[in-house]
Amino acid sequence: MAASTPGARSARVPVEVTTVGNTVALRLHGDWRLERVGSPAPPAELTRRLGTAPPPSALVVEGAGVERWDSALLVFLLRLLRLGEEAGVPLVLRDLPDGAARLLEIARAVPPVQRRGRRTAPGPLQAAGAHALALWREAMAFLEFLGEVVLALGAFLRGRARFRRADLLLFLQQAGVDALGIVTLITFLVGLILAFIGAVQLQAFGAEIYIADLVGIAMVRQMGGLMTAVILAGRTGAAFAAQLGAMNANEEVDALRTLGVSPVEFLVLPRVMALVLMMPVLTVYAMLVGILGGAAVAITVFGITPMEYFYETQSVMATDHFVAGMIYAVTFGALIALASCLRGMQSGRDAAAVGEATTSAVVTSIVLIVVADAVLTVVFDAIDL
């Protein structure tokens, strides 16, 4: 049998239909490969004959003339068998090529599995209910996972957590040093953009010097932490989810459990600690780079001297802004770590599931970052921070 390849097929199916008495005979001959005949339907004459009353007493298929064959012949014979069964006419197979009859037997040996029909699409109310329940389950899973991480952290503080210190150092490097390049680029550009946007308005009042106030406060209070969080969610969070998902698929997580080691302690805790520790450090760095970005615009485009810019920045910078920025940073770091590790641990055991877990980790992290940002902003306003 040869693989079929695209090409011209013979239009005529090599079969002759004859009627002898009350028996219909099909004589197959010639080349019955896919590339020659495609997947031929039973001849119209046969279908017509089977539809007339009284139906023939038998349908005889003579295969002695078949020279070459492959799956095309088998598919044709299966169709004939089905047609015969539907019409209640027995099919008699004669002189089929070696192997073809046996393969037909194999193909029909196991009856088709009757799978339960697909469920019909739920109504809007049912869908809303299912969605609400899914959200509730998600929230519970997140809380449960948070609890496990807190317990693992407690074990760590008591010196009882089991994980490899080398892993923690590696994750600190992955979450911190390795991210410096992208954090530098993005936050410098954000500072630059903020300066340009602010300058357009401030220039109208001759108040370009306040670019320093705008960029400084924005970067320290909000944008430094927010941009670093988004970068880490897409970079480190996605990597953590993919690593844990792949480990789940390879049964590495099960192997830890059977060894009596808590996967949350061994796998999740070092990742969470790395992100929570590195996030404020990177945020401070992002604040400074963002301010430099603003300075680049103010100095080169609007003629403000470096001394004026940095004096203005220093004068407007209050400790409150920095404290608020750090609270944002630690919160974002914890949320990214929890969301990405949770998605990784929840991942299924195949390649598609690992991909879904990674995507879900990034989406969940960013949603949580934005929600937390909004909540903290309202709280800080209420407590005058």
Partner: protein, 243 residues
């Protein structure tokens, strides 16, 4: 065969004849699967030639090599079904890519291939819904998609119970006898080696070369190499020298 400067196997020489069930056997880590990866075009040998139907696989142009490899079907150790596709989509993909069959024709052929491996009616199932043995059989159905002349199996019995393994062996024999397909099997399962193999090569991890070539049943009776003898009789090998 080598990974960088590390030689896995050297001086391999054997011929697979049309209609053979050729077994690549040997202990763990001897390079059985690596040899198969060379034969199915996934890895270029460090030296030497693999000749398929008169054409040197790795000296042929990439397009010619791809055309040659389409005449082969491969079943991987983990079945390697695409998890985001149904069984029908898994089996249909090679036909969609390399034939001009209509979707209706492909559907019929997919049903046939799945029926041949005993999975009729499971067209809409996803790989994750199947047992290990069913996944293996679905992998065979996909390997059969283009009516291959040669079928490769990497550890077909791995992870399966003995009964399912024997059923899979029977299926391999049926496919070979009725489709006229040549079969190349990578395995260290003795029941498979001795039960269905008609020709074989024994690779040795220590010597890093082949120790024997031939019908495994005959090797079990006549081969004097202590490592091959021990392997085929489930014995601890005695102290042996490398050839």
């Amino acid at each position: 065969m080598a990974y960088g400067s590390r030689v896995i196997q050297r001086d391999l020489s054997f011929t697979i004849l049309r209609g053979d069930i050729f077994v690549i056997m040997g202990g763990s880590g001897c390079g059985k699967s690596t040899l198969m990866r060379h034969m199915i075009g996934l890895k270029r040998p460090a030296a030497g030639r693999i000749v398929f139907d008169g054409v040197s696989l790795w000296e042929a142009e990439a397009e010619e090599r791809a055309r040659l490899l389409r005449r082969a079907g491969v079943t991987y150790q983990s079945a390697a079904l695409w998890s985001s596709m149904t069984l029908a989509e898994n089996v249909a993909l090679p036909m969609e890519l390399y034939t001009d069959l209509s979707p209706a024709e492909i559907r019929e052929l997919v049903a046939l291939k799945l029926a041949l491996v005993g999975l009729a009616g499971l067209e809409d199932a996803y790989p994750a819904e199947l047992s290990g043995g069913m996944r293996k059989r679905a992998g065979i159905a996909r390997a059969l998609a283009l009516d291959p002349e040669i079928l490769f199996f990497d550890e077909p019995s791995a992870g399966l119970d003995p009964i399912t393994s024997r059923r899979l062996d029977d299926l391999i024999v049926e496919l070979r006898e009725n489709l006229g397909t040549t079969v190349v099997l990578v395995t260290h399962e003795l029941p498979t080696v001795l039960g269905i193999g008609t020709n074989s090569v024994f690779l040795d991890a220590e010597a890093r070369t082949q120790r024997a070539v031939g019908d495994p049943k005959r090797l079990a009776e006549t081969c004097r190499d202590p490592v091959v003898h021990a392997f085929l009789h489930r014995e601890e090998p005695a102290e042996v020298s490398t050839p």
